[in-house]
């Protein structure tokens, strides 16, 4: 059972240890005052370290880093090959981490494990989206096959325009699905005004899609940018509007102030980071799982970077005066019994 005692470098410099050898060999005598005995006030909870070897396992470390919502889920992630140790796939949940080992978990899995679960309508929307995407891909493959012969003959300029057109067509399609998603969003239902805006946007997108083949690459680009800007403005405006309605109904300045523009930009940036995407296995936009905050902690033997879903196992867990680094819901007495049964009795 590993333990450490924090040392003060000033104390080490000022004393050479002979103060403990003075008197009768255990330090100069003091009056027996039970409140002043240092070792009684700050005991090292050795018994709480009974399960410290388990914390060294890869699956437990993944769970403790908050990359999974339970130890068993962490184990599944490891077995399914979603965890890398020092850049190599490690499918053994029982792998004992060495100090300095870095482990990475697949980001989508982490978002799924810690994100709120999907509602049933989101699951259905995701399924239709996946079906559409599959059909589109198949159609595209068939087209590619048919065109491959023709394309070889065609001049490079013609090819470029065609490519751009195909790309833009796909982009318009994506935008259309986004519009439809926010139209059918049950969490924050669009208001009447926004519904009108969304319908107008959908109409324009459909119009643009129909005339893709008659336009040049540049006009197509402009059109797409225009529509994208409209989409982001309407979605940001919806949130801003909902907020404004709840907070202050009467105060409505006509011109957007600098702060409002800034806030709008921030909202847009946040939405770009956390978009609505029903094809994901978790509810989007991502929000933490219910009851996550009550058990969110990172023990000191791990250094975690959540941005990249990676962590470093710094050292083995240790006990120090009054603190043990092994997370456990049980008090010292129960750990004492476990120690007696599992370790002393051997």
């Amino acid at each position: 059972m590993q333990a450490v005692v924090p040392m003060d470098h000033r104390y080490l410099a000022e004393n050479d240890g002979s103060e403990f050898a003075s008197g009768r060999g255990s330090g100069r005598e003091k009056l027996p005052n039970p409140d002043e005995r240092e070792h009684d006030r700050n005991p090292i909870p050795y018994m709480n370290m009974v399960y410290a070897p388990i914390e060294r396992r890869l699956d437990m470390a993944v769970w403790r880093s908050l990359f999974a919502s339970s130890a068993r889920q962490a184990r599944q992630f490891v077995i399914h090959g979603n965890v890398k140790v020092n850049g190599q796939k490690m499918p053994y949940p029982g792998y004992l981490l060495n100090p300095g080992d870095m482990f990475q978990v697949d980001m989508d899995r982490v978002m799924f494990a810690t994100g709120a679960p999907k509602q049933i309508h989101q699951v259905r929307a995701g399924r239709t989206k996946a079906k559409k995407a599959l059909a589109q891909q198949q159609r595209k493959e068939a087209e590619d096959k048919a065109q491959s012969g023709a394309q070889e003959l065609a001049s490079s300029g013609w090819q470029d325009v065609e490519l751009v057109r195909a790309q833009r067509k796909e982009d318009f399609g994506n935008l259309l699905t986004q519009v439809e998603d926010s139209f059918n969003d049950r969490r924050n239902r669009p208001g009447a005004k926004r519904k009108i805006e969304l319908r107008a946007l959908r109409k324009d997108i459909l119009g643009a899609m129909r005339k893709v083949n008659q336009k040049t690459a540049k006009t197509l680009d402009d059109e797409l940018n225009n529509l994208l800007a409209r989409m982001s403005i309407t979605s940001a405006a919806q949130k801003a509007q909902a907020k404004a309605e709840t907070e202050e109904l009467e105060a409505q300045p006509k011109e957007p102030t600098k702060e409002q523009v800034q806030a709008l930009r921030e909202v847009m940036a946040r939405e770009a980071e956390n978009p609505i995407d029903n094809s994901k296995p978790y509810a989007t936009p991502w929000t933490p799982r219910p009851y996550m905050s009550a058990f969110a902690f990172i023990p000191r033997y791990l250094e975690v970077n959540h941005n990249i879903c990676s962590a470093v196992y710094l050292r083995h867990p240790v006990a120090r005066p009054r603190l043990a680094e092994v997370p456990s819901p049980f008090p010292t007495e129960i750990h004492q019994l476990a120690f007696n049964w599992y370790l002393r009795r051997r």
């Binding site: 450490v4 924090p6 240890g17 004992l96 870095m102 810690t114 009851y291 905050s293 970077n305």
Partner: protein, 368 residues
Amino acid sequence: MTPPLRCHSVICSLSYTGQFFRTAQSRSFSITSQRDQRVTRARRALFRWLQTNGVNFLQPLEGSTNYLSAYNAQGQLRRVVEREEEAKKAKTGEKGQKSVERDPNARDKIPHERPADLRVFPQNPTFLSQPVLSEEFREVIWKRIMEEGESVRDVSAALKVEMGRVGAVVRLKEIEKEWQRILMFNIKGKPLARPYAQAVMSMLPKTAYDADPRKLKTHESINDLPVHAATGPQIFYPTSESRHFTRVDAAKVFDDTLLPADDRVPHPELSLMHKDFRAGKSRQEINEKQRERDEKAAKDKARIAARRAKKLAAVKKVQSPRWEFRFTDVNVDDIGKDGRGAKGVGWRYGVPLMDRSRAQVKIPTRVE
């Protein structure tokens, strides 16, 4: 006004419990048998609790941690209740004290956590949710190491962060920056998990960075002395009364090879510098001495690295299309008389292999 206490004494409507059933079907990880999942009194009590005090834990508390021990039996935040009481006392009793009402905005905020509020498991007081480094702090560490070129030892001593942690922070930050660089040039790069990271960081206690070294909070103790197994048994060691018995002597009594505590702590240079400071040496002299020590350490490190490189270079390598063969000299006698020596090479005829016997570790023990 104080923030509303997040306790719903009225039982929620069915729409809340319905949430459990409306969520998509997912695989259950429970190994509890169906028989044990039947409705019991404890189970009913759990769901009743989830609808009353448990509502506090459904969503994270904004700008604070949200652990079980932070609430009293009525489901109110202890620190909010205590502040209320203090304010009441100050109002009714001594009017001379103005300290409570200094900042009007502070009344709307939740007070800062005390150590008891960071107890994740109410029954286990030895485990606390200890603070993690804030994003800004990690950025500063990365900057000081990678841009200003300071040594890990210096940064660790200045910012009060363990040396291992400093190294790990830099290592992880480098990967993060690399991802960002890829993302900038290639749209198909992996985006960072920003919403997840922000949510998690908002739930954890954090050590904030402060440019003023006097205001900088100690993140962790950097000079931890590991308790050595040899110091476990209590030893009765008679010696002459006149002898000046120091830590060095005590270490030798425990074990001949055990070093004194001064040399076993991660930052031995701090106490050496303090000794010089106590001896009345000037700052320049102290720094000069420290520089010499650093140089000596760097030389030792280089010597060890050179030795290792030489050893590696002595291995004869033959490249084939598929493998790199490496030839080293071995001594057949290393295997020992029983044919099981750890240093021995190859398999001896007649000696059974151990790999099918009990308690043999067959998964990798390290990844390079």
